[in-house]
Structure formats: structure tokens, C-alpha cells
């Protein structure tokens, strides 16, 4: 498991030296959050799989150049979230071109848990940019400063998107969200 930063550095070093088991440990540790982050931004399981897979392939391609002093997660999540936003924007354009029916047919079923389903539906009503900062803050648990760094947005923009997104979720979920 890549529980601590030291463990993660050791796994990255092992993967750089050719250890498949270390690479798999890294993958298994980071896959759930990468996939969920993509899913909560794009709301399409096939697209989420593509996006998360593409991020891991990018990681493999860049493995030899990766600076082990840097944490692996933020680097991966930056790719995931930015590609998920791009995908959502492209979908919006495709919808305007009348391809919504195809996408709905391609998307997987929503989550079984009623609460998760409500949360996913409320998130879906936000713009991709708002969804992304909510996901980064509340799923991946980055601070607003870290989100600003990951997304290249001003800190104030991150805060305002968080506030607006949370206000919307609060109105839909009926609970205090901070």
C-alpha cells in the first residue's frame, strides 16, 4: 500500500526500476480516487474509465522522468480533472449538435446508494468547472491553495467556485455543506 509519502516514493522508485508489483500497488492505491474524480465530473462511467486510464498511461510514459520528491497523487489528479473538464465541455458542444441521445445510451447506470445517487445528480447540475473544484476539495481533499495550484486558477476563483457549488449542493441535499 502507498499509505504514506515515504511508501509512495518507494513504490515509484520500484516501478522506475522495473517492479511490476510496485507499479500495481501504486495503481491499486490511486485508481479508486482517480476513477471517482473523473466519474463525478463527467457522469459517464465509460468516459471516466477512458480518462483515468489515459492518466495512468501518461504516468507510465513519464515514469522514468518523474521526480520522486514530488507526490504522485496530485500529478495524476491534475491530469484526470483537467481531462474530465475538457471532456465535459466537449460533451456540452456535442449536445448542442444534437448527440445527447447517443451519450445517454452509452452512460452506465447511476449509483445504487440513494444518497450517492442524489449527490451525483446534484453535482451533475453544476458546470464542469464547479464540479471539478468540488471533487478536488471534497473527494480528493485538497486545500483551496492546492486546488489553485493544480488547476492553474487564482485562489479567489477557486474559493468562489467552491462556495457557489456548495450552496447549490446544500439547497439540493438539504444539509449543511462546507
Amino acid at each position: 500500500m502507498a499509505g504514506s509519502a515515504r511508501d509512495e516514493r518507494a513504490l515509484v522508485r520500484g516501478a522506475q526500476r522495473g517492479s511490476v508489483s510496485d507499479l500495481e500497488a501504486l495503481f491499486r492505491h490511486h485508481w479508486p480516487r482517480a476513477y471517482r474524480a473523473a466519474y463525478l465530473v463527467v457522469h459517464d462511467s465509460a468516459a471516466a474509465e477512458d480518462i483515468a486510464q489515459e492518466a495512468f498511461l501518461a504516468a507510465v510514459r513519464a515514469l522514468d522522468r518523474f521526480d520522486r520528491r514530488r507526490p504522485f497523487g496530485p500529478w495524476l489528479h491534475r491530469i484526470v480533472v483537467n481531462r474530465a473538464i475538457d471532456w465535459s465541455r466537449a460533451r456540452t458542444l456535442r449536445r448542442e449538435a444534437g448527440e445527447a441521445g447517443l451519450e445517454l445510451a452509452a452512460a452506465a447506470a447511476p449509483p445504487d446508494n440513494p444518497h450517492a445517487r442524489t449527490l451525483a445528480a446534484a453535482l451533475a447540475e453544476l458546470s464542469p468547472e464547479h464540479r471539478a473544484v468540488i471533487v478536488l476539495r471534497h473527494l480528493l481533499e485538497y486545500t483551496p491553495g492546492e486546488i489553485a495550484e493544480l488547476t492553474g486558477l487564482p485562489r479567489g476563483t477557486v474559493n468562489s467556485r467552491l462556495r457557489r457549488g456548495l450552496d447549490h449542493l446544500a439547497s439540493r441535499l438539504g444539509e449543511d455543506v462546507r
Binding site: 526500476r17 522495473g18 491499486r28 462511467s45 507510465v60 513519464a62 471534497h138 456548495l166 444539509e175 455543506v177
Partner: protein
């Protein structure tokens, strides 16, 4: 707010599928060379034991599955008796001159020539002799010559209808002359010393300017069609046989452009292990290339160019140095120059159906012998 704690729909299955893809990509990648440690010596010792068995006559037959060796094959042919492709000719540049090898193994030295390359149908050569650029027949009869200082890298266009051009470097000036030796003119000044590449079936030429920028230009009109900056200064440029792609090979990168300059893909990015040579398969866009990492050389083959670079197949790996890869004109054989073993390997297809090792290359062709053109489609 409520945290999302449960798996997203499809998460476990998608994770399993993706792990297989990621693992495959990981296994196909080649790590950059690292500082020397004791491990390579243990690996070499172990490899030597394997090779002793593998290169016995029955062992050679299964070389395709072993694909690892330390030294040259002990049962290699002592000399190049023939080429595996009938009616083909091989051009070899060495310190002694240019050699033309016929398919029956007979060969002729064009004494004192350097930088030789074939005309499109193999009827002529262009090469540098002293301070002269010459066009000559493979038997040595000279058809025309031009005297200039600093001559290098002549390349014949392959327009295919007899109206050919020869591009060459004179110092840092890129010049173009007609295939009949007329109309010699400067096309660009202050260019890099990289061999220019003609786009097949055209008079369009790719070269590097002095700043290392890739320029693609019509040699007749002088019109620049497109330019591109590259992350690494390329050491070689090559068009695919169908003219659809242009490959720029950097010290540790491969960048492929579409014919209109659109970057198509970078299957190998700066930071990878050094890339020694690369060659498109004739008449299509499959690509073979050689990487050198630590003490090993590995030949890779892309049956097709895909964006994520995961389609590369390993053809063969050896201890030592492969310094050149070339395709036979019928695209069925790969020729690998195994410099450190003083051997060539003829490999039947990228699936390694057969390996024909030939020893004694330096004795046959002189020092620094490099196969530079297997002619002709």
C-alpha cells in the same frame, strides 16, 4: 458536505481492465539507463550461460523466443554469401569507401567514396569523393560531378518519373541539383548538418535550419510548406514510404508529423533511453527503431502508429550495440548492424521467424562499415 465513500459505478471492473492496459504499456516501455551497478554484470553472466545453449544449432531455431544474447552467434556465417532478398542490392559505407553488394554476395568497392546513397530505382548512386559530388553507376562509371568544399549527405529524390533531384550539403548550405547534374543551386543557407529527406513522389524536402527548426519546402519553387519546432534537435529525418508521415528522430525521442505538419504522435518522448536508429517499413507506416539502454540494445516495432505508444512490440534484445536498422526492399527482412559483435543479423519479419547471423563484417568491408541502403522497391 457528505464525502463520496463508495465505489463509483463500474469502478472495480474498469480498474481491472485498466490495470491490464497499464501493465502492458509498462512492460513495453524501456527504462532509461541508470548508473552502473553490480546487477548488469550478474545479468550478463547469466545471459552468457543462456546464450551458450541458445546459439547451438537447435538453439538458434528458437532464438525468436529467447531474443537475448551476449556476444555474436558462434555459428554465424563467416561472410556474407548472399542477401536473403533476391534481385536486391545493398549499399555499405565504410572507411574504405562505398561497397555495392549484389544479392548473390558478390561485391564491388567504390574506392574512396563516402556518404553514398541510391537513386530511386538503384540504377545510380550519388556519393562524395574528395571535394566532388558524383553521380555514378554501381560499376563505378561516373556520369557527372560537381566540385565544392565541405560536401556531405547527398540524397536522391524519389519523384519516380525520371525528373529527379539530388539534395546535398556544402558546408552549412543546402543545395539541390538536377538528377542529370544540371541546375545546381542553393536552397537554404545556415542549415544543420542533418541529412535532408525527400518526401516520396515529390520534390518536397525536409531539413533542419541552423536553429534546429524543422523546415519542409518545395525544392523547385522554394516555397516553405510548413515548419515545426521540436523538443529535441533531431539527428535524422525520414519520410514513410507512402509519404504520409515524417519522422524526426532525436537522441531520445521520436516525433511523427503528418504530411501537412500536424504533429501526429510522439511515441517516445525526451527522457527515454537513447534511440540509435529508426526506419519506416517500405511502402507503409510501420516503424522499427533501436534503443540502447545500459549495455543492451533493443529493437522495437510499431505495426501501426498509435497515439499512446503502447502498440510497440519487442523484436529482439542483445547485449552490445546495434547501430543500424534497415528494411529489405520487399519489407520482409530487417537488417541489424550489430557493431559490438562485428556481425549483421538478417531477421525474417518483425515476428522473428528466422535469424541469419553473418560474421566478419570488418574483414569484409573495412572499419566502420554501415549498411545504408537496401535497394530497390
Amino acid at each position: 458536505m457528505t464525502r463520496w465513500q463508495e465505489p463509483a459505478p463500474g469502478e472495480p471492473d474498469a480498474g481491472d481492465r485498466t490495470w491490464h492496459v497499464v501493465r502492458r504499456a509498462y512492460e513495453q516501455r524501456l527504462p532509461a539507463p541508470r548508473e552502473r551497478s553490480w546487477r548488469p554484470f550478474v545479468a550478463i553472466a547469466a545471459g552468457a550461460a543462456i546464450v551458450a545453449a541458445a546459439l547451438s544449432p537447435p538453439g538458434l531455431a528458437v532464438w525468436g523466443s529467447l531474443r537475448d544474447a551476449v556476444r555474436g552467434a558462434p555459428n554465424a556465417k563467416p561472410a556474407l554469401f548472399s542477401l536473403p532478398t533476391p534481385r536486391s542490392r545493398l549499399l555499405v559505407n565504410s572507411a574504405e569507401g562505398a561497397w555495392v553488394v549484389q544479392s548473390d554476395g558478390s561485391k564491388r568497392l567504390l574506392d574512396g567514396y563516402r556518404n553514398a546513397s541510391w537513386s530511386p530505382h538503384g540504377l545510380y548512386l550519388t556519393a562524395v569523393h574528395g571535394d566532388e559530388l558524383r553521380a555514378l553507376e554501381p560499376n563505378g562509371n561516373v556520369h557527372w560531378s560537381i566540385g565544392r568544399a565541405g560536401l556531405a549527405s547527398p540524397r536522391w529524390s524519389s519523384q519516380g518519373h525520371g525528373d529527379e533531384r539530388v539534395a546535398y550539403l556544402a558546408g552549412s548550405t543546402l543545395r539541390v541539383v538536377g538528377g542529370d547534374g544540371r541546375g545546381d543551386r542553393a536552397l537554404a543557407r545556415h542549415v544543420s548538418h542533418v541529412v535532408p529527406a525527400w518526401r516520396p513522389q515529390t520534390h518536397v524536402l525536409a531539413y533542419l535550419n541552423g536553429a534546429g527548426r524543422l523546415i519542409v519546402r518545395n525544392a523547385d519553387s522554394g516555397a516553405v510548406q510548413w515548419t515545426a519546432a521540436l523538443a529535441q534537435r533531431p539527428g535524422a529525418l525520414e519520410w514513410s514510404g507512402d509519404g504520409r508521415y515524417l519522422l524526426a528522430r532525436g537522441p531520445s525521442s521520436l516525433t511523427v508529423f503528418g504530411s501537412t505538419g500536424t504533429p501526429r504522435l510522439s511515441p517516445i518522448s525526451p527522457g527515454a533511453a537513447p534511440i540509435v536508429d529508426a526506419a519506416f517499413q517500405p511502402l507503409n507506416d510501420a516503424l522499427a527503431f533501436v534503443q540502447h539502454a545500459g549495455s543492451r540494445s533493443i529493437v522495437w516495432f510499431y505495426p501501426r502508429l498509435t497515439p499512446d505508444g503502447t502498440a510497440a512490440r519487442r523484436v529482439i534484445a542483445v547485449a552490445g550495440v546495434f547501430d543500424r536498422v534497415a528494411w529489405s526492399p520487399d519489407a520482409r527482412w530487417l537488417l541489424l548492424s550489430w557493431r559490438s559483435a562485428d556481425e549483421w543479423l538478417f531477421i525474417r519479419s518483425a515476428s522473428v521467424r528466422k535469424v541469419v547471423p553473418v560474421a566478419g563484417i570488418a574483414d569484409a568491408f573495412g572499419p566502420a562499415a554501415v549498411p545504408t541502403g537496401w535497394c530497390c522497391p
